[in-house]
Subunit: 74 residues, 2 copies
DNA sequence: ATGTGACTTGTAGTCCGTG
DNA sequence: ACACGGACTACAAGTCACA
């Protein structure tokens, strides 16, 4: 069960690429700052609604978000 | 909030392509049969761990699962 | 600006049925 | 085979004090 971890890593990667702080991204996504921290660190079993909020806040499509090699292995 | 709906549709699409029943897929994924029904119908805010379980049961990578045009719009 | 532990409330997810 | 409902338990959502 590590999609949870991979998701967090990918969020961090894209967030940093955009030069945003966790706080700024959390605000954009409409979720709590400390919640964003634990999501990025793979500590939360995020729901698909929050997944959508976060991906949207990253200004990327769901398809692009999961295009990374990280998600290519079964 | 419609990633939830799109996810369900995509699950159904791939499940039917594999000729599986909801019951068979649910069993493979290790989740409840009645739950799979409501997931496919977009009625549930699925957690990322169950997303992973379902995608894995479909014998597809996460990246391939979300490659569909359904997930390309922001 | 990031991370953690602890906590309450709402709902995810299960299990029993029905048509 | 699929969809739905009621009753239940497990756990995610959401927030806070603190470092």
């Amino acid at each position: 069960m590590n999609l949870q971890l991979q998701f967090g890593e990918r969020v961090r990667e894209l967030r940093l690429a955009k030069g945003l702080s966790q706080e700024a991204l959390a605000y954009k996504a409409g979720i709590d700052r400390t919640y964003m921290t634990s999501v990025e660190n793979g500590k939360r079993n995020v729901s698909i609604q929050n997944v959508e909020k976060i991906i949207t806040a990253l200004d990327i499509s769901v398809s692009e978000f999961f295009k990374s090699d990280t998600f290519k292995h079964n």
